[in-house]
């Protein structure tokens, strides 16, 4: 699927410093892969904090994760996995020159991403009402562990940072829809769709790690 050289008549997209479309596509894709590595390390810092505190206070994680709603977490997992599928379908449509299909698939992905954020909002709101806030602001007394506030600091940092990534993804896909409507993409050039897709898969994968690590502890 990485051979876009079939249609070469339209070359406005080719930047002056590349020799051909292939080189430009390969470069962009490699760049995105490396960027994803940096993203993993960025989240890696939080995973490290998670692991360190979990090894110090294993019982804390058992107690505190009970406050998290497994049902809605699972729903969100399915929502994101579904959106990964639709973004892959969007790329497929672009490869086949089906611009209408591309736009429809992008809209579905955006819809799923928004659904994810809405569910996340209700989860946050429910906790904040109870007084489950990070660090020094923590005022909930339903968990019998003195470090419960730290668990929720980690929870909010991890899910919050992930949420920001989801929002960025939504923004990128809205931008792709506008570009697609202007007929920028075709089977010879769909690099932005491809690399946004890569990004979106990473956002999905990170959530697939977050869900069991935070919600499913027992």
């Amino acid at each position: 699927m990485s051979q876009p050289s079939a249609v070469e008549e339209k070359l406005e997209h080719l930047q002056h410093h590349f020799i051909d479309s292939d080189q430009q596509f390969e470069a962009s894709k490699l760049g995105m892969w490396i960027f994803l590595v940096t993203e993993i390390l960025f989240f890696g810092g939080l995973f490290a904090a998670y692991i360190v505190y979990r090894s110090w206070y294993p019982e804390l994680y058992l107690l505190a994760s009970e406050e998290l709603d497994v049902f809605w977490g699972a729903v969100n997992t399915f929502v994101l996995i579904g959106s990964s599928l639709t973004v892959a379908m969007a790329i497929r449509s672009a490869q086949l020159n089906q611009i209408r299909g591309l736009i429809i698939n992008l809209w579905i992905t955006i819809g799923l991403a928004v659904t994810f954020m809405v569910i996340k909002y209700f989860e946050y709101a429910e906790k904040i009402e109870k007084g489950i806030l990070p660090g020094a602001h923590y005022s909930y007394d339903g968990i019998a562990h003195e470090k419960a506030n730290i668990f929720f600091s980690i929870y909010y940092m991890m899910t919050g940072l992930h949420g920001i990534h989801v929002l960025v993804g939504i923004g990128l896909m809205v931008w792709l829809v506008f570009k697609a409507k202007k007929k920028v993409f075709h089977s010879g050039y769909y690099t932005p769709v491809e690399i946004t897709g890569l990004y979106w898969h990473l956002v999905d994968v990170i959530w697939i790690f977050l869900f069991p690590l935070l919600y499913l502890i027992d």
């Binding site: 020799i19 590595v37 940096t38 490290a48 990070p134």
Partner: protein, 580 residues
């Protein structure tokens, strides 16, 4: 990734010789005019120069701060500023030098300028991203300046918790957030360079013909990509700590301050290699060029850079031998620290071997490279001292450490940067500088540097702790000697500014290849044309093959609508450009 099966993948290219035009009328500095054209340029060379202007500004700011510190230390008690001011000044000196000068200096200035030229590419892979990196750097810098003018920061450049999460002094949030932003500039530059080296090489540049400067930048990019995100998350957590009291690092809320140190050094030790490894690349180029001789141990130098990049990730704990981590951890970190010393030592011997039986021309860049060899060796040996557990218990957090890292950072990295700057200056501006004044200045800086930092080894060994505003009387003569050295060094840098400005205004025009180098960046005009090469260069020899005639280094394929002045055509076998 290396190609030993070169003979199998061969393709024939019709090439001819392209002699660079001497002193061209039109070049990258004058083809587009006006401030707006500069500010919105995506040309890697101009972006490199914009970085150069910025880092020179920060180097002088932080340098003046250093002189203020040294002046205050003339007397054991208060000389002219109070303790809080002193603490802010040393914090800013460190933070600005490291994050705004040392980290971006070689990659962002010289790397940006030289990397596409050495690959024969028209630009880096993502020129707009490159410009964005610059503006991210500027935004980060503005946050820091904002922090300075709204109370400053007094935590030391390491921002150790819980001091940094609880102190009421200054605007730590703006400062850490500024450095958080700055980190992305570094990450994006790393991504850009890595993709460029992989995907934008001219025909014939196989991995074993890649200039060592690019191996250095490649290793640096790996570290930037893998380590900087961890700094980003650490500083984000610290910012959150101050903004929302999340408490992960603050013991008063239940967190752990030593965890912060692990996070911080996981970035900041590799960051040392972000600063020094590209310097190794420059030194390899300069020593080979001015010895006019094949580099000794090409693969040893290239692979030792990669080895340093990887082992460098495993030694962060040697900053924490007294911090209360387990004895086992200390043992492992000490062991790995010694291992990382070996590839560094290998490089030094390789450079010496390159000089052996060479044709050595002691031009300014070469003099700086030799100064680098001497000072960096001292920095390395004192690093061995600090890696030895029992001795480090005594020397940790004393002036010995201060002197050690100044020998590595200033004696190593800054000298390498100056070697590179003097080496590529004619290529950048098409002008020569005064050889006489450049050498005098180099001598002044060398003397000033050693006067400043040699006494600090003695003070440290005797037990003078670092970051001390007041000190006991027995150290006064050492401190005064050190201060005088710092003034001499300051004079040296003012002299450098003077002859460099003179060179820009009235310097003699430089030829396209004033040092007689074989490397690709010298096979185009000085200053460089807007799109670097008017042809696609084709490489058949290594960049250090001084035993081959110059004509074999200027081959290329004409651009589609290119040149008329035809020379004789030759068919050359070249290896297929790899795609991996």
């Amino acid at each position: 990734m290396a190609t030993n099966d070169e003979s199998k993948k061969v393709r024939k290219l019709q090439v001819r010789r392209f002699k660079p035009e001497e002193n061209p009328e039109k070049h990258y500095l004058n083809e587009e005019k006006g401030l707006w054209a500069w500010m919105t340029t995506v040309d890697h060379k101009k972006i490199g120069l914009m970085y150069l202007g910025s880092i020179v500004f920060f180097f002088f700011v932080a340098g003046v701060l250093a002189l203020l510190l040294r002046t205050e230390l003339l007397t054991p008690a208060r000389s002219f500023m109070d303790a809080d001011m002193y603490n802010q000044v040393f914090t800013l000196h460190g933070a600005i030098m490291i994050f705004f000068f040392l980290v971006p200096s070689v990659p962002a200035v010289l790397g940006n300028f030289i990397l596409p030229l050495q690959l024969g590419a028209k630009d880096v892979a993502f020129p707009r991203l490159n410009l964005a990196s610059y503006y991210i750097y500027v935004i980060g810098a503005l946050f820091t300046l904002f922090a300075i003018f709204t109370g400053g920061v007094d935590t030391g450049w390491t921002f150790y918790t819980p001091y940094s999460s609880t102190t009421s002094g200054g605007n730590i949030m703006a400062m850490t957030f500024g450095i958080f932003i700055l980190g992305f500039s570094s990450i994006l530059t790393g991504i850009n360079f890595m993709v460029t080296i992989h995907k934008m090489r001219s025909p014939g540049i196989t991995w074993n013909k890649l200039p060592l400067n690019l191996w250095g930048l490649y290793a640096t990019s790996i570290i930037q990509i893998l380590a900087t995100p961890v700094l980003a998350i650490t500083l984000l957590l610290l910012t959150m700590e101050r903004m929302l009291s999340i408490g992960i690092f603050d013991p008063a809320i239940g967190g752990d301050p030593v965890l912060y140190q692990h996070f911080f050094w996981f970035y900041s030790h590799p960051a040392v290699y972000i600063m020094i490894v590209p310097g190794f690349g420059i030194i390899s180029e300069v020593i080979s060029t001015f010895s006019r001789k094949v580099i000794f141990g090409y693969w040893a130098i290239a692979l030792s850079s990669l080895a340093i990049a990887f082992i460098g990730f495993l030694v962060w704990g040697h900053h924490m031998f007294t911090a209360g981590q387990s004895s086992l951890a200390n043992m492992v970190f000490s062991f790995l620290t010694f291992l990382v010393g070996i590839p560094t030592g290998i490089k030094i011997f390789n450079w010496l071997a390159t000089m052996y039986k060479g044709s050595i021309d002691l031009k300014t860049p070469m003099v700086y490279a030799l100064v680098f060899l001497f000072l960096f060796t001292i920095g390395g040996f004192t690093g061995i001292m600090l890696g030895a557990l029992a001795v480090d218990i005594h020397l940790h957090d004393t002036y010995y450490v201060v002197a050690h890292f100044h020998y590595v950072m200033m004696g190593g990295m800054v000298m390498a940067f100056l070697a590179g700057l003097h080496y590529w200056w004619p290529k950048m501006f098409g002008k020569m500088y005064s050889e006489f004044w450049a050498k005098i200045t180099c001598a002044v800086i060398f003397v000033g540097f050693n006067m400043t930092f040699l006494p600090q080894f003695v003070m440290g060994a005797q037990g003078m702790p670092r970051r001390y505003f007041n000190y006991i009387d027995q150290f006064q003569s050492f401190h005064q000697f050190s201060t005088i050295g710092a003034y001499i060094m300051g004079v040296g840098f003012v002299m450098m500014a003077a002859y460099m400005i003179h060179s820009l205004v009235k310097g003699k025009p430089a030829s396209s290849n004033p040092w007689g180098s074989r490397a690709l960046e010298w096979q185009t005009s000085s200053p460089v044309p807007l799109h670097n090469f008017e042809h696609t260069p084709v490489i058949i020899n290594g960049p250090y093959d001084y035993h081959k005639p110059m004509s074999e280094f200027q081959l290329g394929i004409a651009a589609k609508h290119g040149h008329h002045h035809a020379e004789e055509e030759v068919a050359v076998k070249v290896s297929k450009q790899e795609k991996e």
